[in-house]
């Protein structure tokens, strides 16, 4: 493989932008959530403070090699998704390494971080971690079903699995966006997105109340810092995926910020309205309306 230093430079720059945007967006959403609940909420720069504090903590404990590799897997997963995702269409420089794989790669690379994290948290030996993981994995299986159907539907619609080609096909006016050309698939996918971003009502995995913080229970210091870094990147990249698939992608960073914000906001909006599901409820929920819509989206293209 040739090392194209310009490409690497722009990719790293993109990563920096995405990380900070993710942190900011995270703060904004928490703030919004707090205001809906009539609280004041955190300051907008709180995520940066958390990050610096965690990376700076000098005393840390490790439960073993897998415990240490867990966050590495997790962050590799997040950054990997970023790398394989085209960010801004129209400029070769912001397409990252998406030439190495298509939508299927994105779909399965999501699991890279999840699996690694599950194992790392597993080695921590904390029962809450294991409970959190078992819930997370359970929930994720059924989240993926309507999403898969929606993706099949749009892959058939555009006759490709290449994200870049899908975005290109949506150019030339917002009426060309998938949300208007294939609304059923979009709705199914947007319902799945609620699970993907795991906000309420699908946040039993981290279950802040009774199960302190789910899989990362034992993580602290720089380990936790890595996880928080990942969360910021991941949320933006997931939103970018939906933006690319359903909302015409982005041709410049402003469009990117607007669209990812609104997509992310959708899950927060639902989250502040609906209380949390138990795990068997959330598992079944995705197999009801979202699944029916997903099947419908596919049938329409059969």
């Amino acid at each position: 493989m040739d090392f194209d230093f310009e490409k690497i430079g722009f990719t790293l720059l993109g990563l920096f932008i995405v990380l900070n945007w993710g942190l900011l967006m995270g703060a904004a959403m928490r703030k919004l959530g707090a205001r809906v609940g009539r609280r004041y909420g955190i300051p907008w720069f709180q995520p940066w403070i958390n990050l610096f504090k965690n990376y700076a903590i000098r005393s840390t404990l490790s439960h073993g090699i897998m415990f240490y590799l867990g966050p590495v897997f997790r962050l590799s997963g997040g950054i990997g998704l970023f790398l394989f995702m085209p960010m801004i269409i129209g400029s070769q420089l912001w397409l990252n390494y998406s030439f190495q794989g298509d939508l299927v790669l994105i779909m399965y690379f999501q699991f890279f971080g999840m699996l690694g994290m599950a194992l790392g948290a597993g080695e921590s030996g904390h029962p809450y971690s294991a409970i959190g993981i078992s819930r997370g994995l359970s929930q994720f299986t059924t989240i993926e079903l309507p999403l898969t159907l929606a993706i099949i539907s749009i892959a058939v619609q555009y006759n490709t699995l290449s994200i870049i080609d899908i975005v290109q096909a949506q150019q030339g006016g917002f009426m060309n966006w998938t949300v208007f050309t294939n609304p059923v698939a979009t709705v199914a996918a947007m319902l799945s997105l609620l699970g993907v971003l795991s906000h309420s009502p699908f946040n039993l995995v981290n279950a802040p109340n009774e199960n302190p913080i789910g899989p990362p229970t034992e993580y602290h210091g720089s380990f936790l810092g890595v996880l928080q870094t990942n969360r910021a990147i991941l949320h933006v990249v997931e939103a970018a995926l939906f933006m690319n698939l359903f909302f015409g992608g982005a041709t410049n960073w402003f469009e990117f910020f607007m669209k990812t914000f609104l997509i992310y906001f959708w899950s927060v909006f639902v989250g502040v309205v609906f209380p949390r599901y138990r795990i068997e409820q959330s598992v079944s929920w995705f197999l009801k309306v979202p699944l029916v819509l997903g099947v419908l989206a596919v049938i329409l293209y059969m």
């Binding site: 299927v104 030996g125 099947v295």
Partner: protein
């Protein structure tokens, strides 16, 4: 050449002379008897040799007159062959019964000799009245022999025998009288030319003669007396009745059939079929060894009777079919009854005592397999030919009944074999082995192999068969007493040499066969390496393991369906013995075998129909089939799917794989299942182009998708690590079936890629988990935990295995997922495809559970000091991991040749390759690039985090943060049992064991039916006699209409 009349003269003469021998000179009497039978046998054998070499059939005219004025005997090829068999059975049977006969006295010895002599006469005679006389002689002798053991039961049985045979001989005599009255001759040939059927009332004579001969063969249900006889007699006598008497009487029926017309053939075949199916059905409920053998004996005679009835159709094939089946029955049944005499235990569960003398167990297995019709025994070829002929003449109902009856027979015989191999025998008494009781079964055991080999040489289709693997197995059997490391080395060397011989030419000529042969042979060698981890002798393991591999190799090399089926059955037999070696494998071995037999019969029927349609056995003829395509395709697909354990036919797999030994599980999972895949590929590439096949393909696609779903979901709910992997195999084979069913380039590419990958990672996982199980002593995951510190080698192997299996990039599994997406989109199977992808995600549940429950979390106190897995397991595992890594980094090395191979069948929509970048009809993927990108990123991040956390204090797992409470003990803190409870609540209904319940209810139904029907056998002699009469009346009425 000595005249055959001396067979009679010696028999009679010595019998009379025995009357003058002093009652105390028992040795003299017994020796004279054996010498006499030996001489009789020598005469028949001499005639047999002469006739085989082309001598003329001879007729012997007694008293110097020609028939019809005198009795005449005939010595032709059939007569010589059968009388040799009878005298051989008589000689060995006499030897076997030596003590009993001597104890009973000289008169018994005399009766035995007369019995054998009488059987010789009824074979040779051509005179109806003479036949009657000697049948009477045999009857009386039989009755005398039945009461040789003076128990209440045997005396009752003798009495019932007399009642039944009284009616029968009365009927026979009347028939002969009528026949003589109408035709004026007693000579059988004369009766045939007289054309009795055309005469007024002549058919009544025929009815009486034939019905009595049929009744002698114990047709169901008029055979209660016979079952009691088999059960109550001395086993040595039962052996004679089953092997010698039945053989002779069968021949009598066949020679007397010349006097009858077509209708009678029909009646005989119906009576025979009814007996075959009926008595094998009733055998299912039987648990007394001798009575069970009685059922089997009666059943086999029924089959032979049916075959005789099919003579108008079979023509000159009759001789081969009936001959091979009769011969197998003769050898096997005598052998089994003789074994029953050695065991001296009625209950079939007590046959576990055979394991005290392994040679007896080997004999027992040999006889059972010969009886069922497995290769390399004669009946295998006979049944094969029978099925081919039945199909060619479109006798589908009979074909189905033959297979059904054989299946019933398989149920009880393999149940019995399972008891013998697995039941506890510690409380059972020692076996006393007398030389004279062991020689006969051993000799018959050897003969049944020799006969099998000889039969195979008669078939031109098997002329190319390579016997070296089988010979190699025999060698392994003879060195079974040596320590493991020697046998293992020999086995590995043998496989290596064989691989070296067959793989390079296959690589040049036939990529498909090369791939599967590599999986079988390389996989075989790797899994055998793990065998070094075992200590002691591991008796019986190597012959059966190599038998399975030999079967697999035969399947690869087969060029016609007979060779293929030969290999298939050998593989089934070998894998059955491998599977049943597991500690708790008895029921699983049986269920594996029953599904296998049923599947094999489906294949047999399918091959038969192909033969009927194309007139050739060549495997390539699948492509030119034009008739019955739906039926053929379905039958073959079902046959192969019993091996791939597709939904509905999968219930044998979890237990069989989970309970097998640690190195056997990968053999039967990663390797054996691929035989079914290979079969499906052969089927689809040859027959898939037909529209009917494509329709079934659509169903198979759904079946594959649902198999994947159910397999993965069930795996997620397992607590037993090996069972979890077994369910995972079911699901993986579901993907493969799904891919194949698409019958497209990408579908096949998916399936082939999965086949190779599944071989790699399932072998890794099963070997590693098996090795872990050997260390920790349990399969239950919740009894383990935190083993990563003790078993880093195992952990890394499982980690690589699960990442590859899950399909997470950058390891090889992702290629499969990517291919599935493209194939599904290209083929338009969106909904099925979504189910497959959904199942792929469910796999994460069980993969996490597997690695987490065993290696992560809290450790159990009792496992704090376990060592890492045995190096002998680690070696093959890490070799396989190298394989995974190569395929992950360079998928094009595998996918390009696969694509080229598949293009010969499906050239459309192939992948385009540009270096490592694959472009399909929908997407693109660069396995190599992804590997590098992810690798670099991962390394950078790992270094970065290590830099930041390098001063972290290493603590044990139990040093964890809790909020309000403190955990009490590590073992109660490990979360593993029922970890996906929420998921089970939501989706558990999908894997409710409905299919198992269905098969259980089928079992229950057949058992209940058997139980209900067998109540007709009340044990009442008068009732049995009534049945005999009723049977005659029933046949009479049938003949009238």
């Amino acid at each position: 050449m000595i005249s055959p009349i001396h067979i009679i003269s010696i028999g009679l003469g010595v019998s009379f002379a025995l009357g003058f021998v002093n009652e105390k000179a028992k040795n003299l009497a017994a020796t004279s008897m054996l010498v006499a039978i030996g001489l009789m046998g020598t005469i028949s054998a001499a005639w047999l040799t002469a006739l085989v070499q082309g001598a003329e059939t001879i007729q012997i005219f007694t008293a110097g007159f020609k028939p019809p004025y005198s009795i005449n005997l005939m010595m032709g090829l059939h007569e010589a062959f059968l009388s040799t068999l009878i005298n051989l059975a008589g000689l060995l049977g006499g030897l076997y019964l030596l003590q009993s006969l001597k104890k009973a006295g000289n008169h018994s010895i005399m009766v035995f000799l007369v019995f054998i002599m009488g059987l010789n006469v009824i074979i040779m005679t051509r005179d109806a009245f003479n036949l009657f006389v000697f049948m009477e002689v045999v009857s009386i002798a039989t009755a005398g022999l039945i009461i040789l053991t003076e128990t209440g039961k045997s005396i009752q049985a003798g009495f019932k025998y007399m009642l039944a045979s009284g009616i029968i001989s009365g009927m026979l005599l009347l028939g002969i009288v009528f026949a003589y009255y109408y035709s004026g001759t007693l000579n059988i040939d004369g009766l045939a030319t007289a054309n009795l059927t055309a005469m007024k009332s002549g058919s009544v004579a025929i009815l009486m003669i034939l019905i009595s001969l049929v009744l002698e063969l114990k047709p169901f249900p008029a055979n209660g007396w016979a079952l009691d006889v088999y059960e109550a007699s001395n086993p040595g006598i039962s052996a004679m009745l089953s092997a010698a008497s039945a053989t002779a009487l069968y021949f009598v029926l066949s020679k007397i059939m010349v006097i009858a017309n077509e209708n009678w053939y029909y009646i005989i075949s119906v009576a025979g079929m009814l007996t075959f199916v009926g008595s094998n059905l009733l055998g299912i409920k039987q648990d007394k060894a001798q009575r069970l053998l009685g059922y089997s004996s009666v059943g086999q005679m029924g089959l032979l009777m049916a075959i005789l009835g099919l003579k108008p159709m079979l023509g000159d094939k009759l001789e081969f079919i009936a001959g091979t089946i009769l011969l197998s029955h003769y050898l096997a049944k005598a052998g089994l009854f003789w074994l029953a005499g050695i065991i001296e235990n009625e209950n079939i569960k007590d046959w576990a005592v055979l394991r005290r003398k392994p040679i007896l167990l080997v004999l027992f297995g040999t006889f059972l397999f010969a009886l069922i019709g497995f290769p390399p025994f004669p009946s295998f070829y006979g049944k094969w030919e029978l099925i081919m002929q039945l199909s060619a003449h479109q006798h589908y109902y009979i074909l189905a009944l033959v297979l059904l009856g054989s299946f019933f027979e398989g149920i009880y015989l393999f149940q019995w074999l399972g008891y013998a191999i697995k039941m506890d025998f510690s409380t059972l008494p020692e076996i006393k082995l007398n030389w004279n009781k062991i020689i006969p079964p051993v000799l018959f055991g050897v003969l049944v192999y020799v006969a099998g080999y000889y039969t195979s040489t008669l078939l031109p289709e098997l002329s190319a068969l390579n016997y070296i693997p089988l010979l190699f197995i025999v060698i392994l059997y003879f060195i079974d007493a040596l320590p493991i490391y020697i046998k293992n080395t020999v086995a590995i060397l043998g496989m290596t040499i064989y691989g070296y011989q067959i793989l390079p030419p296959l690589y040049e000529n036939d990529m498909l066969r090369f791939i599967f042969a590599s999986i079988f042979i390389v996989g075989g060698i790797l899994t055998l390496i793990a065998g070094y981890a075992y200590k002691g002798k591991r008796e019986g393991f190597y012959p059966v393991a190599l038998l399975m591999y030999a079967g697999l190799a035969y399947i690869i090399q087969a060029s016609n369906s007979l060779e293929f089926f030969f290999g298939w059955e050998l593989m089934t037999a070998g894998s059955y013995f491998l599977i049943i070696r597991g500690k708790k494998s008895m029921p699983h071995g049986l269920s594996y075998m029953l599904f296998s037999i049923a599947g094999a019969y489906a294949l047999l029927a399918g091959f038969g129909l192909i033969y009927a349609g194309t007139g050739t056995l060549a495997l390539g003829s699948l492509a030119s089939v034009t008739t019955n395509i739906t039926v053929i395709f379905s039958l073959l697909a079902i046959g192969f799917m019993t091996k791939t354990a597709s939904l509905g036919l999968h219930i044998w797999l979890p237990g069989a794989h989970a309970e097998a030994e640690s190195d056997v599980s990968p053999m039967v999972s990663a390797i054996l299942l691929k035989a079914g895949v290979f079969g499906l590929i052969l089927l689809i590439v040859n027959m898939g182009h037909n529209a009917e096949a494509a329709n079934i393909g659509y169903i198979l696609g759904w079946l594959g998708a649902l198999t994947a779903l159910v397999g993965n979901l069930a795996a997620a709910f397992q607590e037993d690590a090996k069972r979890l992997l077994a369910y995972s195999s079911i699901a993986q084979l579901g993907y493969i079936l799904f891919g194949l069913a698409m019958m497209s380039h990408l579908g096949f590419l998916t399936a082939m890629y999965y086949s190779i990958n599944h071989f790699l990672y399932k072998a890794i996982l099963f070997l590693t988990i098996g090795a872990v199980v050997m260390r920790v002593g349990t399969h239950m995951m919740y009894k383990m935990g935190g083993l990563i510190k003790n078993m880093p080698m195992a952990f890394i192997a499982v980690l690589i295995g699960i990442i590859a299996l899950s399909g997470v990039p950058p390891l090889s599994g992702f290629g499969g997922k990517w291919l599935i997406y493209n194939a599904v989109l290209a083929n338009g199977w969106y909904l099925q495809g979504a189910i497959v992808m959904f199942s792929g995600i469910i796999a994460f549940l069980y993969l996490f559970k597997l690695i987490y429950s065993i290696f992560l979390g809290q450790m159990k106190d009792n496992l704090r000091h376990v060592k890492d897995i045995s190096i002998w397991f680690a070696i093959p595992v890490y070799i396989l991991i190298i394989g995974i890594m190569i395929i992950s980094a360079k998928p094009e090395w595998v996918l390009q040749p696969l694509g080229a191979m598949i293009s010969q069948w499906y050239p459309d929509a192939a992948l385009a390759w540009d270096g490592g970048l694959a472009t399909g009809p929908y997407g693109y993927w660069n396995g190599n690039g992804i590997m590098i990108t992810v690798g670099i990123m991962f390394a950078l991040l790992a270094t970065w985090l290590w830099m930041m956390s390098r001063k972290a204090i290493q603590v044990k797992q139990f040093n964890i943060v809790y909020s309000a409470e403190a955990p009490q003990r590590p073992e109660t803190t490990h979360i593993s049992y029922n970890i996906f409870a929420g998921y089970q609540k939501a989706l558990g209904w999908i894997v409710a064991p409905k299919i198992t319940e269905f098969w259980d209810s089928m079992t229950e139904w057949s058992h209940s039916l058997a139980h209900y029907v067998r109540q007709i056998y009340t044990g009442n002699g008068q009732l049995y006699a009534t049945y005999v009469l009723a049977y005659i009346v029933a046949v009479y009425f049938i003949m009238i209409f």
